[in-house]
């Protein structure tokens, strides 16, 4: 396949309490996963404004991961529920722009789940490799010119 050499770029928004700590744990445990994702630390998955996701895709990301505490475990009681509710609306919006919903992922990763973090990144990278590059500019201009 043409995409064999394709290395997707992924932006990850990780909550400081669970998922960022979980990603650190993957590091201290020396688990290996692809280098495609670079993380941005936020205080809570509830802080992830949908425009962040759109901005990342527009600026060249092929996928975005949002990761927070498991339902019920949020350090701020319910921020992850807010993230969970915004997520389907975001997918809906992206779908209207012709962007596959497989490019944005919401995952619950606790501070003890270093292994899970590594698995999620590995799997997501594979998934995006299969989807191929996003080519935002082309999609959007196609949408704007109606072709």
């Amino acid at each position: 396949m043409a995409n064999e050499q394709f290395e997707p770029r992924i932006v990850g928004f990780l909550c400081r309490w669970c998922s960022y700590t979980g990603a650190d744990l993957a590091g201290t445990s020396r688990m290996q996963y692809p280098a495609n994702l670079a993380a941005i630390r936020v205080m809570c998955s509830g802080r992830v404004d949908p425009t962040f996701v759109v901005k990342a895709l527009k600026d060249g990301a092929d996928g975005v991961l949002i990761a927070g505490c498991h339902p019920g475990d949020c350090h701020y009681s319910e921020g992850n529920y807010k993230a969970m509710r915004r997520y389907p609306m975001l997918l809906n919006l992206l779908d209207q722009f012709g962007i596959e919903c497989g490019r944005v992922r919401l995952e619950w990763i606790s501070a003890s789940e270093g292994e899970r973090f590594a698995e999620v990144v590995t799997e997501f990278t594979e998934q995006l490799k299969a989807l191929g590059p996003l080519n935002w500019q082309e999609s959007i201009s196609a949408l704007c010119t109606g072709t």
Binding site: E7, R9, V11, R16, W17, C18, Y20, T21, A23, D24, L25, A26, G27, T28, R30, M31, Q32, Y33, P34, A35, A38, A39, I40, R41, V42, M43, C44, G46, R47, V48, D49, P50, T51, F52, K55, A56, D59, G60, A61, G72, D73, H75, Y76, S77, E78, G79, K82, R86, S110, A111, S112, G114, A118
Partner: protein, 1129 residues
Amino acid sequence: MIRENQEHRIGVYVCHCGTNISHTVDIEAVVEYARTLPDVVQVREYKYMCSEPGQDLIKQDVEEQKLTRVVVSSCSPLMHEETFRNACEDAGLNRFLFQMSNIREQCSWVHSDRQKATEKAKRLIAAAVRRVHHHKSMEQREAPVHPDALVVGAGIAGIEAALKIAEAGRKVYLVEKEPSIGGHMAKFDKTFPTLDCAACILTPRMVQVGQHPNIELMTYSEVEDLSGYVGNFKVKVRQHARYVTKDCTGCGECVSVCPCEHPSEFEMGMSTRKAIYRSFPQAVPNWFTIDKRGVPMCEDTCPIHTRTQGYVNLIAQERFEEALKVIRDVNPFPAILGRICHHPCESECQRGEHDEPIAICALKRFVADWEVEHNLHPEPVKAEANGKKVAIIGSGPAGLTAAYDLARKGYALTVFEKYAEPGGLIRWGIPYFRLPREVLDREIDWVLGHGIKLKCNSALGENGLTVDKLLNDGYDSIILALGTTKGLDLGIEGEKLPGVVNCLDYLAHANLQGSVETGKCVAVVGGGNAAVDSARTALRYGAKEVMILYRRTRTEMPAISAEIEAAISEGVQIHFLVNPVEMIADSSGRLTKVKCQKMQLGEPDKSGRRRPVPIEGQFVEFPVDQVILAISQLPDLDFLVKDEDFDLTKWSTLAADPDTCETGKKRVFACGDAVTGPSTVVEAMASGRQAATAVDMYLSGEDLETLRGKPHRPHALPLMDNVRRPELPQQKRVEIPLDPDAGITLKEVEKTLTAEEAIKEAGRCLVCGGCSDCRVCLDACEVGAIDHCMDDTVRELDVGAIIMATGFQLFDSTVVARYGYGKFDNVINSMEFERLSHASGPTGGKILTKDNKPPEAVAILHCVGSRDENYNEYCSRVCCMYSLKFAHLVKEKTNADVYNLYIDMRAFGKGYEEFYKRVLGEGVHFIRGKCAEVTKVAECQEEKDKLIVVVEDTLLGVTRRLPMDMVILSGGLTPGRDTEKLSRIFGLNCAQGGFFLEKHPKLAPVDAISDGIFLAGACQGPKDIPDSVAQGAAAAAGALSLIDKGKVIIEPITAEIDEEQCAGCQLCIANCPYAAIDYDEEKKISVVTEELCKGCGTCVAGCPSGAAGQKNFEDAQILSEIEGILAAN
């Protein structure tokens, strides 16, 4: 696009972290790349940026190069962000003009491809550099620290922490969920490697805790909620009711009288304790606790809330007089109800879930009859008169119960009865063969013996006896308990024919006069108890054929099931799904037939019973010469209606308040069937009790409104779930004996149980309520320290620091089915062995098998549930050592051969290796290999009746089969049962394995992830006693350093709202979980209360106008970070 139009001088510092980063990331390439980034004026690399010389580089450049922003690329910010911020501040740069990028945990350690890791490091640095452009100078907020501390869990770690803080002169709340402090250590026999007696070293510390003026001990308590922040926590603690106050002297008199036994949790279920108990003699506090698990279903369902398990368990112990006292506390008619009660308690009995419900009703009858048989007639206790007079109209079950209750409170009672004898419906409605008259007379006389005046032949509305007259005559209050005396008609053709009678008239005739006109072929219409009684009475007064006509099916029949069975066995025929539509007479006007409509069941009605609906055109006729109508009854209230203060309901019953029993007339209350419509005897009694309570409160000037909506306590759990217990055998309930001589006569049909039968039957009770609520302990307690009505209390504590010391729980060995734990008697776990070996344990310290023999061969299996990827991968650290201790103890106390089956020996602590050597020298066999299974399938004679331990000896390379008498499973340590709940309450994270996560595994092992919370002991991970004590002390030091500093610095990452941009939509208010945002009505905008905001940023993400922002996590900062990640390369 984010514009970077500000001029900045940025310094970038790339750390090698020894070789941790540099072995994967090409530092040189990264440095070269960083130099190309906008506004970067200085880039340095260094071996250890966190070291002093590393930090000095930053300080030096800030001063000399006039840096305005700093980026450090090294480890996780969770590790060293504070370090570098402090360095910036030291150099005079605001600490928030700094950004860190994590190229170790999230780059060099997780990637092995040097080129890809280097590219990723570049992206992360680019992101940090872009972000730091938008950083702003901020001031940190200070808050005072509350000087008190909270320690959760009072095992050895919690005890140590609490004592250290208390000794430093600070107040500590020590919260423990068990009734006593001490934790697991209190159960241990000896401690390794010194073989000190655990109790000897622990109990003095426990006493110190109990007596320390700075420690407030809260046992039997659990933290329910936590709010606030570091230095200023608010903690909600629920203190469970222990039903014993601190007046308890610990004398133990209550224990000797308590009838309920349960497996002892402290003794791992190997012996029993009473429902009122103290876990162990040295418990602190030394008070007893009553194990109440909620109101049992039998008691809750009983309309008069008889404390059923109380008397049942006393009967089981042959304490019949005490049992009767429990019954008579609420029920003056044990012999009557023991015969005729519809006993809803039995339908709810939890034993019925297992096999069959307890024969509660028959047990009640047994004790009542036993008393008569033994001529023990207790004198009614007369209360001291309170000078108030109450009249009760009606001497049925409702009226007499009300009289009984009020008389015991000192009221002067007069009961007015319409008929010549008291008893109401129980006298004229219930036939002799169910309730002999002498039983009835005896119990009514006993009630009247409480100083109650009875006036018979005094019907209300006759001979000038009226409500108003009684009120004028000086009665302070009146209770109307008039009952139902009018039978309901069917309203069909032929109903007025001679031969059609109402069941009330029929039964009253039979029961009051001993004779009644009865046909040869009788049909009874109805399905209730009155119908069944009428049918059986008809058989006894000459009817040759008796049938019951009922419009629904057997399932819907409201009559007592046993009575229906008895009627059928006496020859009564029951025709279901038929409804009389016409009574047909012959030419002479004599009743000959009853014509019925055939019915079928339709949808359920309001009562939940399926409604009968006619099958069009289908009829059936039954030849009869008498019909008894037993459909329903109504009160006869004609004389009352004339008084306009009284109202009738739409069901023609007397209107009275369902909670307070008040009628429309002041001082007049009403109860019983006249208010509720036809009910059972016990329901009428409950109604009478309700009226008595209301009258007493009314005449004492109390507010009757408090009677409304009383909450019920939770039901009891059906079976114990906390301690291993032998399979409960299935046991049939006792059969109610019948009198073989009774036949179909007026003689009583059912007989009383024998004492043996009663004791055996009562012994089947599971005491699912924990405490049976018999309350005999009340009399035994000389200091009056027992309060069966105690409620939980919830306290709110203010504390500055919190120490979690919630411990562990032992690995559940039943999970490893192949080891036979829970299946084979002599396979025990390590806590069970501790108790077995303990001098005050169930065997007094003798190591014995379940059949009380000293074992000849004992195997100790290491690593059960530890170091095993099927269960827990981690090493539990203590099992090797305690297994050695067990081996030593078995050797010391028995002549058994001891085999330790280990994977690796881990004797890492001080004196541990020496102990290992000592045990090796004691002749214990060590086999390196993990046990494959424990079986009872013998392959040769010497394996017969033994537990065969199958193991591969990996040193010899052979499989061995070892016949054993006892197998001890050295289970690992797993997180405490409540860990997950606690982690949510306290906002703690759990690490792999489920134990609480520390801030740093090496540098901050007792700090939790959340500031102000510290971890001590096994809740943080498996550890032995010395390590737990050390952590307890370390956590105390952490808490004290926070408290003694007196102030905390709060990171200014709160939300802020731009007044200009806010549209006042208030979406942020809905988003905030802390109620930190309010709406300013005047300005029409939302306003953040900074003190309450915790900085999650959820409101910012949800703000549609972009007015909300979060300090240090501003949109511009995050967006530029995104750009940085994606712009690189």
